[in-house]
């Protein structure tokens, strides 16, 4: 006979033993995972850590640059030291917890001239830090007082697409083409040999199970030192977003979400939803789609079905770029504001902006001192330079993707060349006419515009397109292309010197008189180093030509070509029609080296990057003493005299 007391004691002992076993098992698993992480890091370290610099961000003082405020384009948000930090493409914003804007750090001013992409708080260290991933400058680290820059030597590792803080303080840096890196702030390693080339889009998890979302290889799971890839389990192989919570992970793709439990695939959710961001909390899965607003799924339901989040059904920006937790509250990060995901209420908003977009494609100052700003894909803004307030915004089927803006001498008309035709504005700023292929242009896409006088003294407008040239003389519209002898159909830039039309193309330069090709120059028959001519500007009898790869060259009236030492040996791409000549200097916008400047009378070019919102200078314009410098990440203004000082 066994007494009841004995049975109770036995039960207690068994319970304790079970708990002990669980504790031992869990501890062993944690220790093994931890050790594997360290071993993995140690193995990588053994093969050599990667060179990088960690230094205080100390940009040279920009010579009088002023940034025009562009739409914020919020990317991510995080709470740090009691405030809310929001990362836009061109600036980092600090808000109080009540939503009051406290401070802005601009790319190119206080921060390196690269777009900002990701944001997270590093934990597991004595003093938490705010890490900001950039598209070219590595990671920026804010401790509340100063910025430091962790800058890998390898250029691919300087483009950060995702950041994750591990509980032990290790930071993971995902890159769009160069794999996954880890750092403790002192050393930088490639995280795992098998992940050396993955295109990282998202990171989630921790030391026991790390999830790595990729652009084209599904999702990788790193666990206990080994990696495993899931692809067929996902609705699509492109991973857009990840969230891990209590042993479960949700993988957002363009065609729905896959759920994993304890590292194993469990089910697919939200079929067909473009899951740009995911976040799970309290049995609910929040999904931000690209085009349908925010969904909320009850994960405990037998068949979870997406339902619209309250407040997001109408009225609010439906395209949340990210979902994040702020004080335990699910927050949707939209382009211009942060909202409560549950009710849609606005928590904070971006400051008012002058510009519709930061991606500038063309600039022109007109005779009325208005700055015409053509955007990559947001139409045209017209700003009064006296007041710097937006006068008008134009955006429609034609005024959408802008390439070039020119003012016609004499009548003051403004011509806007776009991917969908040529828009003509009257001097008063009213859209008067649109020309396209149906009207006689050789193609809809207009890349450059030039105004000429004909031999008879009439007016001629020359339109460059990827299919050749169109000449407009009154009601007479005619075209030429390679059939008529143009060196290449793809014409990017036009200039004129002494009555000769110079057409810079993908395949060299053609010189035309009265619409007939007189001569063409390529690398095969001239001293051109590069056939691809992207920009041109006339200076007296000479023409400066921007090239794709060989910087700027000068062609004199005899078609002799002069090259410059600063462009020899280094690959310098001049952006299309990003060449400007003033009385003082020649300016060239480059794809990655900022703005090149050649003072008149000198033979040496200098490169300026400080003060620019990006090193990718896409458009230039001048007005008296001021230069307007458009980039792919904003617009800056500088007094020319300061610039040349």
């Amino acid at each position: 006979v066994v007494s009841r007391a004995f049975v109770r004691t036995l039960k207690k002992v068994l319970l304790l033993l079970t708990l002990l076993l669980i504790a031992v098992f869990t501890g062993t698993a944690w220790w093994r995972a931890h050790r594997a992480l360290e071993e993995g890091a140690a193995q990588t370290a053994a093969s050599g850590t990667l060179p990088f610099t960690l230094a205080r961000v100390d940009l040279p003082i920009a010579p009088g640059f002023t940034a025009f405020s562009a739409a914020a384009e919020f990317q991510a948000a995080a709470a740090f030291q009691g405030d809310v930090y929001v990362c836009g493409r061109a600036a980092l914003y600090r808000y109080s917890s009540a939503g009051k804007l406290l401070k802005i750090w601009h790319a190119g001013q206080e921060l390196p001239p690269y777009p900002l992409r990701a944001l997270t708080v590093r934990r597991g260290v004595a003093t938490p830090e705010l890490w900001i991933g950039t598209e070219g400058a590595g990671a920026l680290i804010w401790d509340g007082q100063t910025f430091q820059q962790l800058r890998p030597q390898e250029s691919g590792a300087r483009k950060v697409s995702a950041l994750l803080s591990m509980p032990n303080g290790t930071m993971l840096l995902g890159t769009p083409t160069a794999g996954l890196y880890s750092t403790d702030g002192k050393q930088l390693w490639l995280f795992h040999a098998q992940l050396a080339k993955v295109k990282v889009t998202a990171l989630a998890g921790g030391q026991d199970a790390l999830w790595i979302g990729t652009q084209d290889e599904g999702v990788w799971l790193w666990r206990a030192g080994t990696v495993r890839r899931f692809e067929t389990e996902l609705p699509d192989q492109q991973v857009l977003s990840l969230w891990s919570e209590a042993g479960s992970t949700w993988v957002g793709t363009p065609l729905g979400v896959a759920e994993f439990t304890n590292g194993e695939f469990s089910r697919r959710l939200a079929s067909g939803v473009f899951a740009r961001a995911v976040l799970a909390q309290n049995g609910k899965l929040w999904i931000s789609s690209f085009d349908e607003g925010i969904f909320r799924l009850d994960l405990h339901a037998r068949v979870p079905r997406p339902g619209a989040g309250e407040g997001f059904a109408n009225g609010l920006d439906k395209s949340a770029t990210a979902l994040t937790l702020l004080d335990g509250q699910v927050v949707a990060v939209t382009a211009q504001a942060l909202h409560e995901a549950a009710r849609g209420g606005e928590l904070l908003s971006a400051p008012a902006a002058n510009l519709a977009s930061g991606h500038i494609a063309a600039l022109q100052v007109d005779a009325q001192r208005r700055l015409w700003i053509g955007y990559f894909d947001r139409g045209v803004d017209v700003l009064s330079l006296s007041g710097e307030t937006t006068v008008q915004h134009f955006e429609d089927d034609v005024l959408f993707c802008v390439n070039r803006i020119k003012q016609e001498p004499g009548n003051g008309n403004i011509l806007v060349g776009t991917a969908n035709g040529l828009a003509l504005f009257g001097a008063g700023g009213r859209l008067r006419q649109v020309l396209n292929a149906r009207s006689g242009l050789i193609a809809n896409q207009v890349t450059d515009i030039l105004f000429q006088r004909t031999a008879e003294g009439g007016a001629r407008t020359v339109i460059a397109t990827p299919a050749g040239l169109t000449f407009i003389e009154g009601a007479n519209v005619s075209s030429v292309y390679a059939f008529q002898g143009l060196v290449n159909n793809h014409v990017y830039t036009l200039a004129e010197s002494g009555g000769t039309l110079v057409a810079g193309t993908l395949g060299g330069v053609s010189l035309l008189k009265n619409g007939l090709v007189q001569a063409s120059f390529t690398t095969a028959n001239s001293s051109l180093r590069q056939n691809w001519i992207t920009a041109s500007a006339t200076a007296g009898k000479a023409i400066y030509l921007g090239t794709y790869g060989s910087g700027v060259i000068r062609m004199d009236e005899h078609a002799d070509i002069q090259t410059f030492r600063e462009f020899a040996g280094a690959r310098v791409e001049v952006n299309p029609n990003a060449l400007l000549i003033t009385a003082r200097a020649v300016y060239a916008g480059t794809a990655g080296r900022g703005m090149a400047i050649l003072r008149r009378g000198q033979e040496r070019w200098q490169f300026v990057t400080a003060g620019l919102p990006s090193r990718n200078v896409t458009a230039l314009a001048a007005d008296d003493d001021f230069l307007y410098i458009g980039t792919d990440n904003g617009l800056a203004e500088a007094a020319e005299r300061n610039l040349l000082r």
């Binding site: 652009q215 390439n403 890349t447 159909n489 793809h490 063409s520």
Partner: protein, 767 residues
């Protein structure tokens, strides 16, 4: 605009396809070219039957999925001009799923239903419109393409396609080519290739040749009227097209083919034909006057203009110095090379060609003005040659009005020296019926589609310029009441051609067939049989002729319900596509439901109206929602290609959502061609003598589409890839009349994005 984005000369085309279609190719999704390691052609059986000038080409292909994944792919079949798909079927395991012809509206509805079930249906429509590259102008396609899904893991997928094509006869010779050589890709290897050919010819076959050395035919029968041959091989590299040519005896005998199924209620069909053997009317040595009308309107941009120029140059260089010529370039206006025709001396021809090259393209097409100018040049006779797509946009635009004007203007010309009007219709979108009507004014008609070589057609076309067609070519059948709805096939009344008619007969019995031409009459008594099924092509050939006649009527008089209903009925019964019917290759195929227009660097996608959201996933990372441009009914976005993105074909994925929440995934190919093709020329000798044949060798980038060389005074030659020599080669004949001296041999290479490279090589012509 950033620099990097201008690198895109995006040739957005349809799933997996580049600008020129390839025949019998499957490209697996996610790939940009056929990959035998993934999807190999296990076997290909080609059956060609040519019966009295009517070819039926049947292709049966078996593809092998060599991967452990279920694949989907895009199958494309380029059609020669005048060819029409008559059948298409996909095998799903042991089940053959044939395509069906449906009325267009019904086909569109079914297509939608099937597509909503996440199965891609295929839809082929006559005159389907795609958009040309940079201009954005619409053009019609001669390509049939379908999406094939699923192709099982390590499994096989069998496809069948059939098309019909007339084999025209010129100078008593006929020829047919079945395109097999890849245009855009590396030549493919076929595990097992079997080609069978049956040539049945009522006239005596005096010569038979198979072109090329790649497919040596084994003859199993070769009689006066029949040739049977075959080829069989394993692991065959498709680096050549399969082609044959034959010549028949010039005997003006009537031949009559018949078909009757045997049912008492069904009519029988006949085809009566004769070889027009009359001697050439034009007296050798008599000076000719040729006025060429050269279309430089915007619709002629790119290939059509190049082909027109090729035709112009060949036409002018075929003239003798005693002949005279003039060239009128026309668009909205008409501009004449010379005030009056000039002697066809080499220097005048060179000047005329330069004149055309220097002429700018302009908006519209005014055929009326061009012809008026040509009539003024030929008031004393001669030949007018029209090189155009015939899309008249100014002057008399409607077919009815234009035809009335032309007939009146033609009648007003002095009857004796009235000029002939020959037409070379350029391009897949040419107004064939309208241009045929122009050519009916004493001239010759020919069409040059984009998917076929021009040389053969051009030679036949030029050979007839200046010749007068035979008068009074007509057929009479007695008893007349027993036959009905008889139609002439083609309109070639020139010596050496075959004149043929198709018609129906009601009752079996004897009939007298009489064909008259050039004051001659040829008669034959034929027994129209109660049952005869050998010439199976006849019912469909007649139906096609009947539909063409109805379409002509609609062109002239406008649409009427009865005509449309009859067209739909005949098209469905005999399986061919018309403007009122579509070919639905259900349920697992697709023909371009959407259309991407190239841009630089703009991505444009046309969808059906149900799509409410479209997002592009670019291979280099960015995700961009496309904006719907209402006025253009097109979705558009712009993208930046990274600097390190290599030249070549890349894939952009599209996620489409319709108003019912259905989500579709598509992928499209775009081409980055940031560099013109590299070109390196080698000459065996830089010194030649007039009349010498010089072999040219050139290396050019893989992206090169056309590679030409031209010497002053000579027509350009096209260099073709020669695998044995590992070089592009051509033979150039130095004109015998070329004076000694130093000349430039001009090479140009053009890629699919119309980037052009040039190289000039000095050539010394020795005395």
């Amino acid at each position: 605009m950033t620099l990097t984005m201008i690198r895109i000369f995006a040739l957005m085309f349809l799933a997996g396809g580049l600008l020129w279609a390839d025949s019998g190719v499957i490209i697996a999704s996610g790939q940009t070219s056929p990959d035998a390691a993934m999807l190999a052609i296990d076997s290909l059986r080609i059956s060609v039957v040519i019966d009295n000038g009517h070819a039926t080409v049947h292709l049966q292909e078996v593809f092998h999925n060599k991967t452990a994944n279920v694949l989907e792919g895009s199958y494309s079949l380029a059609l020669p001009s005048g060819a029409a798909v008559s059948d298409f079927a996909v095998w799903d395991d042991v089940t053959r799923i044939p395509g069906v012809i449906l009325e267009r509206k019904r086909a569109a509805e079914l297509y939608e239903q099937i597509r909503n079930q996440a199965i891609d249906p295929g839809l082929l429509e006559a005159g389907e419109i795609v958009e040309s590259e940079a201009s954005g102008q619409a053009r019609h396609s001669s390509e049939f393409s379908v999406k094939i899904v699923p192709i099982p893991v390590f499994g096989y997928k069998r496809l069948e396609a059939e098309y019909r094509q007339n084999v025209p006869m010129a100078q008593f010779s006929g020829g047919l080519a079945v395109p097999l050589k890849a245009v855009n890709f590396e030549p493919q290897v076929v595990g097992k290739l079997f080609i069978s050919l049956e040539l049945k010819e009522p006239q005596s076959i005096v010569e038979f040749k198979s072109g090329g050395h790649s497919f040596p035919l084994k003859m199993s029968a070769q009689t006066e009227h029949v040739v049977r041959a075959s080829f069989e091989g394993s692991n065959v590299l498709l680096n050549d097209d399969f082609s044959i040519s034959y010549k028949v005896q010039a005997k003006p005998e009537i031949s009559v083919q018949t078909y009757r199924a045997g049912s008492r209620n069904e009519p029988g069909f006949f085809e009566a034909s004769v070889l027009l053997d009359q001697a050439k009317r034009a007296v050798e040595g008599t000076a000719r006057k040729v006025v060429v009308l050269f279309d430089t309107s915007l619709s002629m941009q790119w290939e059509k203009l190049e082909r027109s120029f090729q035709a112009l140059e060949a036409t002018l260089r075929a003239l003798r110095p005693t002949d005279t010529f003039n060239v009128i370039v026309f668009n909205s206006d008409a501009l004449t090379f010379s005030a009056r025709p000039v002697a066809a001396r080499p220097e005048e021809i060179a000047k005329a060609l330069d004149f055309v090259r220097a002429t700018r393209l302009r908006g519209g097409t005014n055929l009326q003005k061009a012809l008026t100018a040509a009539f003024a040049q030929t008031s004393t006779g001669g030949s007018i040659v029209l090189l155009s797509d015939g899309e008249s946009t100014e002057g008399a635009v409607s077919a009815k009005r234009f035809d009335a004007w032309l007939d009146k203007a033609w009648a007003a010309l002095p009857q004796g020296p009235r000029p002939s009007l020959s037409v070379l219709a350029i391009g897949d979108d040419a107004d064939i019926r309208g241009m045929r009507r122009i050519a009916a004014h004493g001239g010759v008609f020919e069409q040059a589609g984009s998917a076929e070589p021009l040389e053969f057609k051009l030679a036949a076309f030029i050979g007839k310029i200046g010749l007068a067609p035979l008068d009074g070519v007509r057929l009479a059948v007695a008893p007349q009441a027993n036959t009905s709805l008889t139609y002439r096939l083609g309109q070639d009344d020139f010596p050496g051609a075959r004149a043929a008619w198709v018609g129906r007969y009601q009752q079996p019995g004897n009939a007298d067939f009489t064909i008259a031409f050039a004051a001659r009459r040829v008669t034959k008594q034929v027994n129209l049989p109660a049952q005869e099924t050998e010439h199976a092509y006849l019912p469909a050939t007649w139906a096609r002729a009947r539909v063409d006649a109805l379409l002509e009527k609609i062109d002239r008089e406008g649409e009427d319900k009865a005509s449309i209903e009859e067209i739909v009925r005949l098209a469905r019964e005999y399986k061919f596509v018309t403007p009122y019917t579509s070919f639905l290759a259900a349920p697992r195929a697709l023909l371009r439901p959407r259309l991407i227009r190239p841009g630089d660097p703009v991505l444009r996608v046309r969808t059906d109206a149900s799509i409410v959201s479209l997002i592009a996933l670019f291979p280099f990372g960015p995700i961009a929602p496309l904006h719907y441009l209402k006025n253009e009914d097109i979705w558009q976005t712009r993208f930046v290609a990274p600097e390190d993105l290599a030249d070549g074909a890349h894939i952009v994925r599209l996620i489409l959502r319709d108003r019912n929440g259905h989500v579709f995934r598509e992928q499209k190919t775009f081409l980055i061609a940031s560099h013109p093709p590299a070109l390196r020329v080698q000459l065996a000798s830089s010194r030649v003598r007039a009349g010498d044949r010089l072999t040219l060798h050139a290396q050019a980038s893989q992206t090169t589409r056309t590679l030409t060389a031209q010497l002053y005074g000579a027509a350009p030659v096209y260099l073709k890839w020669d695998a044995t020599k590992k070089s592009n080669t051509a033979v150039l004949t130095v004109p015998a009349s070329l004076p000694a001296g130093r000349y430039s041999l001009h090479f140009s290479a053009e890629d699919s994005a119309h980037n052009v490279s040039h190289q000039e090589v000095a050539l010394e012509v020795l005395p």
